[in-house]
Each structure stands twice: as C-alpha cells, then as structure tokens.
C-alpha cells in the first residue's frame, strides 16, 4: 500500500502519447449510415453487421436479444479498451461511439458480463494509421494475462488464510498470511489502479484519515495481521473482516482484466514496485507486526522483473546499456534476497523475520533497491522510443 495511489497522471500521459485515440460513450447525434455497426448480442452470439470500417467516428448500435445482462467492448489487439458499454439489459438498445484510427480492433460481447467475451475482428482503414509496435501490444496483453493469473491464483490462497481466521486458528492463519499476499504484491500497481480496492484490503493502521474509526473503518490484511501478531486473538470482528477480505479481493479479481495498461505504464509500474520496497518494506513499516516484509519485498521484485522481462526485447534495441544494467541489478538483488531465505530451497518464500535484520543488513538491501530502481526509472523512456 502506498500513500499516493498509482500513476494516474503517468498512465494518462502515456496513453495519450501512445495511442492518440479517444473512446467515448456519450450519446452523440446518430450519424447513421457509413460507420455504424449493428451489434446483435445474445447469450451465445455477438453478430456484427460490418467488419470493415473507415477511420474516424464509429458508432456501435447494440441490441441485447439475449436473456442475460451484457456488455460490449471495442478493443485494441492487446485487449486495451477503446470504448465500452456496460449493463446492457435483455431486450434493450444502447449506443457506443469512438474515434478510431486505422488498424485492427475487436468487438467483444460479454453475456453475463463475465469472461473474455465473444469476439469479432474488425478492420479500420483510411486516414491516419496508429503506428504501434506489435511486440509491445503483445507485451501488454501478456502482462494483462499475468495480472489476471496472479489474481486468480491469489483467491484460493487468501481463502486458506481467511478460513483459518474464521476457525479461530491463530497459528494456521499466521502461517497462511504472507503467502496470501504474494499475488497482490506482485501486481500492486495494477491493483492500485482501482483506487477503491486498495484502501479496503491493504491499508496500514496509519493510513486511515482523521475522523475514521480504527475499530470500524480499518479493514483488510493488516488489520488481521495486527489481530494475529499483536492482539493475539481472533474475535467476531476478525471473522467478519476475513469474509470481507475474500469479497473485496473477489472484486479485484473481477476487475483486474480491465485495468488501463500501456507499455510505459508497465515500465513505470515496475519502477513503482521498487518504490513500494524503498518506502515501505526496507523500513519494516509494511509488516510491522508479522515482520514478513521480505516476502512482500520478494514479490514486488518478481512483479517488476516480470514487467521488465516482457518489455526487454524492445527496450534492449533502444538502450542496450540499460537492459544490461537492469539484468545485472535484478540478479544482484535476487541474490541478496536469497541470502535471507531460511530454508525450503531457492524458490521458497520463507524468509528471515524482518526484525532480525540489523542496520547494516537493511542498508545493504536499501542500496540494492536504489541500484535497481534508478535504472528501472529509465525503462519507460527506452520503451517509449518505439511505439
């Protein structure tokens, strides 16, 4: 959890710089004819009247003939959303408009508003072409898939934790705690892009605002962490909070696929994961009761490394010295972290309790983080050079 949430500004700037395409769902005067696509959605079909469109203003005239509530998306090839319309009830009609440049797109209907949806390819031609590096589209799509995988894999692990809390089993809950956070920590910048989920699940005691009631308003992992390690008891409130954590994270799982992701926001997200480490983990503030900071630390670095790995091919063409340095510094930090593993082999997530580290240890970790984070802050520039 960071005090300042995501790089909304960065993400927006990056989107503007990289796409220059706007999507909008407001009702505009129907242009009719030329660039209107009739979209007929049912529970198992998504029929479109046109698959070849001209660049410029596009309108999707949607009719839901199915029995489920649906939603319709106009998507870039990497799943980024150009424009969307949610909550289209059975038997209703809606319009969706967008300004598009030439290129490939997809129209997706999601009956029941779930899953990947039923997709149709459409091609837009004429006018200006959006020049995009297909490798970066793939990087974004792969990273989106990674974020989803992490969320999907996290829910069962969280359930092990929350089940233990609901059973009142302090030891089992303590054991499951750090593990339940790994997927979240790996993809934190994506998770944090939904500003409403993070304060519910990952806020620390000191993150509450004045006027908020610690007993009433503090929810999520760290509230339970305090109950387990400091108060050493599980009561009715804790059990309620466990169930609420399941629910809030379910919300995250459902929405993570819709996060706004661009190549540069991926790069800056990787850097932000290191910022998380530098401001919260290195200081031992994040896990002040459980002292499992090194698990979060490791997960943050892994998430950053994943994003970097997906961007590396492009970045190394533009700035080979930078990727060489990043490879070296990721390896060095991984090695340093490895020294704090307390058994279980090189892939285990059992780390020394953070309160056992002395000042020299934390200084060395901090130096390692700075050594990686500084070149990592240059990754977005290396990626942005090719669009």
């Amino acid at each position: 959890m960071r005090p300042v949430r995501l790089s909304a500004a960065t993400a927006v700037a990056a989107v503007a710089a990289l796409t220059a395409v706007t999507g909008c769902t407001e009702k505009s005067e129907a242009k009719g004819g030329d660039n209107t696509v009739e979209v007929t959605a049912t529970d198992d079909k998504c029929d479109v009247s046109e698959t070849k469109l001209s660049a410029g203003h596009v309108e999707l005239a949607i009719e839901n003939k199915g029995s489920k509530v649906t939603e319709v998306y106009l998507l870039f090839p990497d799943d980024r959303i150009v424009s969307e319309r949610e909550n289209i009830g059975p038997g209703t009609k809606q319009k969706l408009t967008a300004e598009v440049k030439s290129g490939s797109y997809q129209i997706a209907c999601k009956p029941g508003m779930k899953g990947d949806g039923i997709r149709q390819k459409v091609t837009v031609s004429g006018g200006k072409t959006v020049k995009r590096d297909p490798r970066l589209d793939k990087s974004v799509a792969d990273y989106r898939a990674y974020a989803q995988e992490q969320a999907d894999a996290t829910l069962p692990k969280v359930k092990v934790f929350t089940d233990a809390v609901r059973k009142g089993d302090i030891e089992a809950a303590k054991k499951a705690y750090a593990n339940s956070r790994i997927g979240w920590e790996r993809t934190e910048p994506v998770a944090e892009s939904f500003g409403d989920i993070d304060p519910k699940v990952d806020v620390r005691e000191d993150g509450l605002e004045e006027g908020q009631d610690l007993a009433k308003d503090w929810t999520g992992w760290h509230r339970l962490e305090r109950a387990l390690w400091k108060d050493k008891k599980i009561g009715g409130r804790e059990k309620e909070l466990a169930t609420r954590l399941d629910k809030d994270l379910k919300d995250w799982q459902n929405r993570v696929g819709k996060a706004e992701i661009t190549p540069t926001s991926m790069a800056n997200g990787a850097k932000e994961l290191l910022d998380e480490v530098a401001t919260g983990k290195v200081t031992g503030e994040e896990e002040r009761y459980s002292h499992t900071d090194l698990v979060d630390f490791k997960a943050n670095v892994e998430g950053a490394e994943k994003a970097y790995g997906l961007l590396k091919a492009v970045a190394s063409e533009n700035d080979p010295a930078l990727t060489k340095e990043l490879d070296k510094q990721f390896a060095a930090l991984d090695k340093l972290l490895g020294e704090y593993r307390t058994g279980g082999g090189k892939d285990s997530y059992t780390f020394t309790s953070y309160d056992k580290l002395d000042k020299a240890d934390t200084k060395e970790l901090s130096d390692g983080v700075n050594a990686l984070a500084e070149p990592l802050s240059k990754l977005a520039a290396a990626v942005a050079k090719s669009k």
Binding site: T10, A13, A14, A17, T264, A267, N268, E325, Q329, K359, K363, D367, N370, A371, L372, A373, E374, P375, S377, K378, A380, A381, A384
Partner: protein, 439 residues
C-alpha cells in the same frame, strides 16, 4: 579577489562543455550576465534547439537579473573547475557545505572508471551552473529527467566539488601498492566516541557553495548517477564556515562563539600551500602530485553546558578573548600569540604549530546542527575538515596533543571520522577525476 582561481591563479582553465560554450571562463569573468545559466540552457543535447526553447519561455526575464534585488547567496559566480589542484581546498571558503561519503558497490574497475568520468562531466556542468545531462525538463513526459531541477534559476553560487579516495578504495580495486603511505588509518585518540555509520567511506565528495540548495543539488545528482556503483554511506550538511582561506576577511566564529582558525593557511600563500597542503612531486606516489589529504571529523559540541560556563573560563579554554579574538595578553586578533602566557591546556596553545613541531593544516570546517537529539539538546558542533600534505605530520600530531590535554575536551566529543586522499585537479576536458590513479 581570487574567487575564480583554482590554485595559484595562473592556470584557472575554463570548462569547455559540450555546447561549445566556454562556460568556466564566461562564468568566471562575468558571472551574472553573459554566462549561460541553469535557467537559460536546457542541456547539452541539441544546443540550438534547447536555447530556442528557452527564449520562448519565461527564461529570459529570469536570466536578466540586473534590475532585481539579488540575494547575497545568489550572487556567486562560477569557480573554475579545471586546474592543477582541485577547487574547494585553497579556493575561498563558501558559506555552505554538503559533504558525502560513499561506499563502492561494484568490483568492476571499468564500471567504476566510467562512473568517475560521468561524475567529472556532471561536476564540470554543475560548477559552471548548468544542469546535468539533458536537463530538468523538456524531455519525455513518461521518464524522469536527468537533472533533479531544484537548482534551476540559481546562480553557480561558487559551487566547488572536491573528490577524495578513502583507504577502502585501494583494497577494492587491488591498488594496495598505489595507496599513499601518507594516507594512514587514524590512531584511536583518547575521548573518541566514533560512530561507524558517521565515518569512513571509499569515496567522498565535498560540495561547497554559497547557496545550500546548490550544494545539496550537486550531491543529490552525483548520488543518483552513482546508484548501483556507489552508495551514500553518510553525509553531513554544514553552515557558517568556521575558518577562512582569505585572511583579509573577518574570521568566522564557531558555535561556541569564538573566532577559531585565525592563523589558517591562506589560499594565496603559495609557499605555505606547497609546504603544508599540496603533495609534492617527490612525496610519492606520483599520481598524488598536486593533491592533498583530507581528515574529516564530526565533532559534537555540548553547547548547553558551554553556555553555562563563565566568560573567564571560556576565554581561558580557548586562549583568546571572546570579543576581539585576540590571543591572551594581546590587543588584536592577528597579533602573534605568546603561547606561554596561555594556560597549558588552552586550545590555541595546544593546536599551534609551535607546540607541534610546526605541524600546519589548512582548516575548512563548518558548523552543523542536525536539529535536536531527543533529549532537547542541540545536536550541533563542528564538522572539521583539514587538508594537509601528509596526515602523519599534519592532523595526527595536532590531535594527539589536543586529545590528551585540551580543556575544550570537556565540551566536545569526536563522533565521526574519515580520511581521504584528494587527487590533483582535472587538467582539461579529456581529463577526469582519478585518471592518474586508474588511467
């Protein structure tokens, strides 16, 4: 004045930077108008374009400061970066300090040499009042700028950057045979209470400037360039210089309210500098010729107990009067002290070269306060910096005699300590800090 000279005033070469601007010379001769300042030059990449961008913004109005009231701290021009000796030793002492010691984190010699080259380039830019790299703004919006930007619009403020090599560096790169004999590890002095996290270091950079923002900016940007190769081990901010290299100027006072350092080596006394400060050709090793040795000590002062000490005792402890700074029995500050008239434990008597076989050091220290210490006591004192030709004949004998008998010891404690070999100056634009050692 000798503000713009690096050593003797004879070879204060200019800094030709990548834009082709003879920045050092321009700044030195006309610091406030004709030099391209931080504000009016975006960076070295595509100078034409950068300058074009500057004139379309509000930069011109700011750069022309002739009709505005200029705060004293902003008035400082540039001190030449190139020269036989590094600036920041014999050059006039500025008002502010940011001193940083670094640990070397890489064992790759080539990588470290590249850092020294990158640092040299950045130092030449910053001392001339320019931004680092491609500047503080105007680049890609998705990426952090090269320069951190807090010195934009400020004058060079006589910034000097002085690098030093600590004992650990010679082990790190297998240079033990090139470690100067004069760079000794200091002995333990009675009363020392040294905190390792406030001492030592493989490298140091002394940033002095008339504007603290300019000094802090310089250290911050060098640290940033260095991440991964070096890491800051400790650093110290200083204010209120406690000694002067310009004897004509008023001797500054330390936090005990006394003038100290009256008889410091003068920055334009070439024979004294050659005798006591600069490493000579024959002193060895060859790479140190024109360099010096630095001892840095963080000296905590117990100001509260000092303030409760009677005036008479305070004056006895120093061996000077508090108002004028005159030695015991004399009328004027610069009157030659008669040591035997002073108490045997007085600070001036014990520190004087005549009491230490002529041992003479060039002091360049600053007062510091890092707020209070949690007990409500001012965490303050003297950040002592002394340059000398040989630590064994400079600081050590003086401190031996002081630590044994100085009456001042009741009110001070040495809590941080470090020694560095200060290599000679950067001679020309192809030269870099430490080339004589690593090249």
């Amino acid at each position: 004045m000798t503000d713009t000279t690096n050593d003797t005033g004879t070879d204060s070469a200019a800094v030709p930077d990548e834009t082709g601007n003879d920045a050092g010379a321009a700044s030195a001769s006309a610091p406030s108008s004709s030099s391209p300042s931080r504000r009016s030059l975006l960076g070295w990449g595509g100078a034409g374009l950068a300058l074009g961008a500057a004139v379309t913004g509000g930069a011109v109005a700011v750069a022309r400061s002739g009709d505005e009231a200029v705060p004293a701290a902003s008035a400082g021009g540039a001190v030449a970066f190139l020269g036989k000796h590094q600036a920041g030793i014999a050059t006039p002492v500025q008002d502010r300090l940011h001193f940083a010691a670094f640990d070397v984190k890489t064992d790759d010699r080539e990588e470290f040499v590249q850092l020294l080259k990158d640092w040299t380039k950045a130092a030449a830019r910053m001392t001339a009042g320019h931004e680092v790299g491609e500047g503080a703004y105007g680049g890609l919006t998705e990426a952090p700028p090269d320069d951190t930007g807090e010195a934009l619009g400020l004058k060079p403020s006589r910034l000097t950057l002085t690098i030093g090599f600590g004992p650990g560096l010679f082990e790190k790169f297998d240079l033990s045979d090139r470690r100067p004999e004069a760079l000794v590890d200091l002995p333990k002095f009675p009363g020392d209470n040294l905190d390792k996290s406030r001492g030592g270091g493989d490298l140091c950079v002394q940033a002095c400037a008339d504007d603290p923002q300019v000094a802090v900016h310089a250290i911050r940007n060098l640290a940033r360039i260095g991440f991964g190769k070096v890491a800051v081990r400790w650093s110290q901010l200083g204010f209120g210089k406690t000694s002067s290299t310009t004897p004509g100027a008023q001797t500054p006072r330390n936090l005990f309210g006394f003038k100290d350092g009256t008889r410091n080596v003068s920055g334009d006394d070439n024979s004294a500098l050659a005798e006591h400060v600069w490493v000579g050709e024959k002193d060895g090793p060859g790479w140190m010729a024109g360099g010096s040795y630095l001892v840095a000590r963080r000296i905590r002062m117990n100001v509260e107990t000092w303030d409760r000490t009677s005036l008479g005792e305070q004056e006895d402890i120093f061996g000077r009067d508090k108002g004028e700074g005159a030695p015991v029995g004399k009328a004027k500050e610069h009157d030659k002290p008669f040591l035997k008239a002073m108490k045997p434990t007085s600070h001036v008597r014990l520190a004087h070269p005549d009491s230490n076989d002529g041992a003479t050091i060039l002091r360049r220290g600053y007062s510091f306060t890092d707020g209070t210490d949690g007990l409500g006591r001012l965490d303050a004192g003297l950040f002592f910096l002394a340059y000398q030709r040989d630590v064994r004949t400079g600081f050590i004998p003086v401190q031996r005699s002081l630590s044994r008998s100085d009456a001042l010891n009741e009110y001070i404690q040495h809590v941080g300590s470090a020694v560095f070999a200060i290599p000679p100056g950067v001679r020309d634009k192809d030269d870099w800090w430490g080339r004589a050692l690593f090249g």
